[in-house]
């Protein structure tokens, strides 16, 4: 295997029309180092790495790979130089085996595959790796952490010398993240690889990166050794002078009546396997119940049932002591609001405008509807108000929501849903993929709802988030509630054990 490559950008500038996404950014990544790229959503991190990878052509500035200026015209050219990238989302073919995916990644699949030779080569490669993934296993049978490892193995198999990782741990549990990052750190230490890692997680940056560059609004606002930069300083660089939303002080009042009472829920997942197996839980007014668990243990199905997107096979959902039908009338009567994960996919209509998406809950009520007729004016005015209040960055209310950045889609959905009066709020991974500032805002909004007396079920794969926000903690494993404790008595070790026990 060849040696690590250095990367340097000199005055890299990229404009989209009148908007400057990257403004003369110069960063320096030493060969054989792990360099973190930090910044808010829309700060220009993705634009920067896409310029390096040949997806975008910079308007100005140079990219130096291994100290030589390179004209990288396409991702193919980048690959030829030994550059590789691991994306935030998986790029594996789920119904093919690990070996087939490795072969596919090379981009040159011969008409007839000499599997014997390929297998020998792959086995040799796997033997040189500190962790192994079974070559014959189909991707769909792998756990999320294993898939992420295959993504990385795929790049290493192609002999990459500089690897760019776009939020590599966003789908991983903390333990899995440590395993993957530890492995990569090892490769860097052996001098085989240089890594540029886009991340929001300060903990990982401090644990694994030796240097960091911070972008804000397309400009490089700070860089240095992680050892020399304290966390508050990094955060300040990232968000600028604006201060982070502080979580509203938790009003220390006892929880009220039971609002949500789900008992004995049984449901199958999309493939017909039993995902929920008799899960029961209750949430009281004015408390946040944090539901922790490794993804794929029934959380998604639970949220879908509460959101009316899936019918349970058995069990009952009661809200305010009444059977809850999860339709429009029942949700309105009981003031139930559901915020599923991936809001663009689950909670908004990508083809419709921001204004129409903001109207989704109220379009059939006055003043947005007069009899059977819609009032475009009322929809527009309501949207302008929410866009202002929640600082949604959109060109206009008529812009299709799919054109907004992830953080702003989430803001739009929150603006729509949290501006309602709420008795029961069900949220799933509300801060997934969001930057520090947006995360702080959302967490503050959740605590504010709790203090106003809403019962909140917070389903999250981020244990830190759960421990920070919850009044009570529960763990879901294999479709059952495996642990429940008030926050004061909750024990991180115990929770971790229950998450993986079957």
């Amino acid at each position: 295997m060849s040696d690590a490559l250095s990367l340097e950008t000199v005055g890299l500038t990229k404009r989209f029309g009148a908007f400057t996404a990257l403004d003369a950014v110069s960063i320096k990544v030493r060969a054989g180092s792990l360099h973190a790229l930090l910044g808010e959503n829309g700060a220009g991190k993705s634009t920067l790495v896409k310029c390096v990878m040949g997806y975008y052509h910079a308007d100005d500035g140079d990219v130096l790979i291994g100290d030589r200026g390179q004209e990288i015209g396409s991702p193919r050219a980048a690959a030829a130089l030994g550059l590789g990238m691991v994306y935030q989302h998986f790029t594996l073919v789920p119904n093919m085996s690990v070996a087939e995916n490795l072969l596919l990644a090379s981009g040159k699949v011969p008409a007839v595959v000499d599997w014997k030779a390929e297998r020998a080569k792959m086995t040799r490669f796997m033997d040189s790796m500190p962790f192994r993934v079974p070559l014959d296993r189909p991707i769909s049978a792998l756990a999320i952490g294993e898939k992420q490892k295959v993504e990385i193995l795929k790049q290493l198999y192609l002999d990459r010398r500089l690897l760019i990782l776009d939020e590599p741990t966003s789908v991983l549990t903390p333990d899995e993240a440590d395993e993957v990052l530890g492995f990569l750190r090892g490769l860097v230490d052996q001098g085989r690889l240089t890594i540029v890692m886009i991340s929001h997680k300060l903990r990982e940056i401090y644990a694994y990166a030796e240097e960091v560059s911070v972008l804000r609004q397309g400009k490089l606002v700070g860089a240095g050794r992680t050892a020399d930069l304290a966390a508050p300083e990094l955060t300040r660089m990232m968000v600028g002078v604006e201060t982070l939303a502080q979580p509203a002080a938790r009003a220390p009042k006892p929880a009220g009546d039971v609002v949500l009472d789900a008992s004995g829920l049984v449901a199958a997942d999309d493939r017909g396997r039993r995902a929920l197996d008799g899960a029961s839980l209750a949430v009281r007014a004015g408390e946040i119940l944090g539901l922790a668990g490794v993804s794929g243990n029934g959380q998604r199905e639970l949220v879908e049932i509460l959101a009316g997107q899936r019918d349970p096979e058995a069990g009952a959902v009661k809200v305010h002591g009444e059977r809850y039908a999860a339709d429009r009338a029942a949700a309105r009567k009981h003031k139930v609001v559901c915020l599923p994960e991936e809001p663009l996919k689950n909670a908004s209509v990508p083809t419709m405008s921001v204004a129409e998406n903001l109207a989704l809950r109220r379009f059939d009520l006055a003043p947005m509807a007069r009899g059977p007729w819609l009032s475009d004016g009322a929809i527009r005015r309501a949207a302008e108000k929410l866009i202002g209040e929640y600082r949604i960055r959109t060109r206009s209310p008529a812009t299709p929501i799919a054109e907004l950045s992830g953080g702003n889609v989430q803001r739009t959905v929150l603006a729509r849903d949290l501006s309602e009066e709420i008795d029961l709020l069900v949220v799933a991974n509300p801060c997934f993929g969001l930057d520090v500032k947006a995360t702080a805002e959302i967490r503050a909004a959740l605590v504010a709802q709790r203090n106003k007396g809403a019962a909140i079920l917070l389903v999250s794969e981020d244990l830190d988030e759960i421990l920070e926000l919850s009044d009570r903690v529960a763990v879901i494993a294999s479709g059952k509630i495996a642990y429940e404790a008030p926050i004061a008595a909750a024990d991180r070790q115990e929770i971790g054990k229950r998450m993986v026990a079957h």
Binding site: N41, G308, T351, S405
Partner: protein
């Protein structure tokens, strides 16, 4: 590109925001017009190549298509007569398409609507004309609507692909018509061409004042307008667009996805059934195999060309009506086979399907970003 949306919006002052809105909308509208236009031109160019290859002069062919479709008041009236059923059969595909369904059994719904209308009209002989005509219209709409609602229900409750089921239901409908006109509903006097009994001249729809064109054209345009208003300006239409854009979000909002899906299918089928009723009550006077002459299939093409916009269906139906109307002239002057305009239609359809890949790529040019 996400970054673009984020920051340029932040910089927008209230006045610039209003301006940006117009520019955004204009860009979207310009794209919605440009894509079908490009597709039409590409399809026409392919047909020109086909004509060249078969030894005809494409310039002459297009001149004749123009003359035969739009060159004289006679050709215009021929064109509009053909456009009338297309307006309604196009809605069959266009309305469910707003909910994300692709249903293409237009021909069957038209045929069933025609048979139902003819049956009712024949049975009501002697009743007041207004009553009979309304009853025939309702029967046609009900027959067409229920037939497609079946495909919608199969899709919603059993997950059956609605494209396939609507097409197969359409074949069944045509077979059902053949059975009815050759059996139970057959007029013994119809010897060569089995037909239902004639509904009687008293029940026939008249012509638009001062023209040879029957009122079906006006009905078609009015129904297109109604569908447009329904989809764009009512609560129900909003809910339909939510379902079409993202069924998961529609369920999250507690909207009744099933009733909306099946209702939209019914609506589209009712429009096609009405087309069948008009063909019977304004043209043939009876139901027979002449109902299944392809207005349904051309309706699919109209809906796709109009990008499922009920208003755009009107000009597109007239355009394709004109192309159909010119086939006679092409045959007489150039001895071109009747089917050559079908080749043109087919090429247009392929070009339109291919043009979908341009969606969203032209808008930046139009909105100047």
């Amino acid at each position: 590109m996400a970054a673009v949306a984020e920051t340029s919006g932040e910089a927008a002052s209230p006045t610039r925001g209003a301006w940006a809105l117009d520019r955004d909308r204009l860009g979207a509208i310009a794209e919605a017009i440009a894509i079908p236009l490009i597709a039409l031109l590409a399809g026409a160019a392919l047909f020109a190549l086909f004509m060249l290859a078969t030894g005809y002069d494409p310039v002459e062919v297009y001149a004749l298509i123009w003359a035969g479709g739009f060159g004289s008041s006679f050709s215009w009236s021929n064109t509009l007569l053909r456009a009338a059923p297309l307006l309604l059969t196009a809605l069959y595909t266009a309305v469910p398409a707003r909910l994300g369904l692709v249903v293409i059994g237009n021909e069957g719904a038209l045929v069933l609507g025609g048979v139902a209308a003819a049956g009712i009209g024949f049975a009501l002989a002697g009743a007041p004309a207004a009553v009979a005509i309304v009853a025939m219209g309702l029967a046609g709409m009900l027959a067409g609507g229920i037939w497609v609602a079946l495909a919608g229900a199969l899709r919603h409750f059993r997950g059956v692909n609605e494209t396939i089921s609507s097409l197969l239901l359409s074949y069944l409908a045509i077979a059902l018509m053949n059975h009815l006109v050759e059996g139970p509903l057959r007029d013994p006097a119809s010897l060569n061409k089995p037909s239902t009994g004639h509904i009687g001249d008293g029940f026939m729809l008249g012509a638009l004042p001062g023209t040879d064109i029957h009122v079906g054209l006006a009905i078609g345009i009015v129904v297109c307008l109604i569908c447009h208003v329904l989809i764009r300006h009512t609560r129900t239409g909003f809910a339909m667009r939510v379902v079409g854009g993202n069924p998961a979000a529609a369920r999250l909002a507690g909207l009744g996805v099933g009733p909306l899906l099946i209702g939209a299918c019914f609506l589209g089928g009712a429009a096609a059934g009405l087309a069948g009723m008009i063909e019977v009550a304004a043209v043939h006077g009876r139901a027979n195999a002449s109902l299944a002459v392809g207005y349904g299939y051309t309706g699919i093409l109209v809906a796709f060309l109009a990008r499922h916009n009920a208003l755009a269906i009107v000009p597109v139906a007239i355009l394709l009506g004109g192309i159909g109307a010119s086939s006679g002239l092409l045959q007489r002057r150039l001895d071109l086979p009747d089917a050559s305009v079908l080749v043109l239609q087919g090429l247009l359809f392929v070009a339109i399907l291919a043009s979908e890949t341009l969606r969203g790529r032209l808008r930046p040019y139009f909105s100047g970003r």
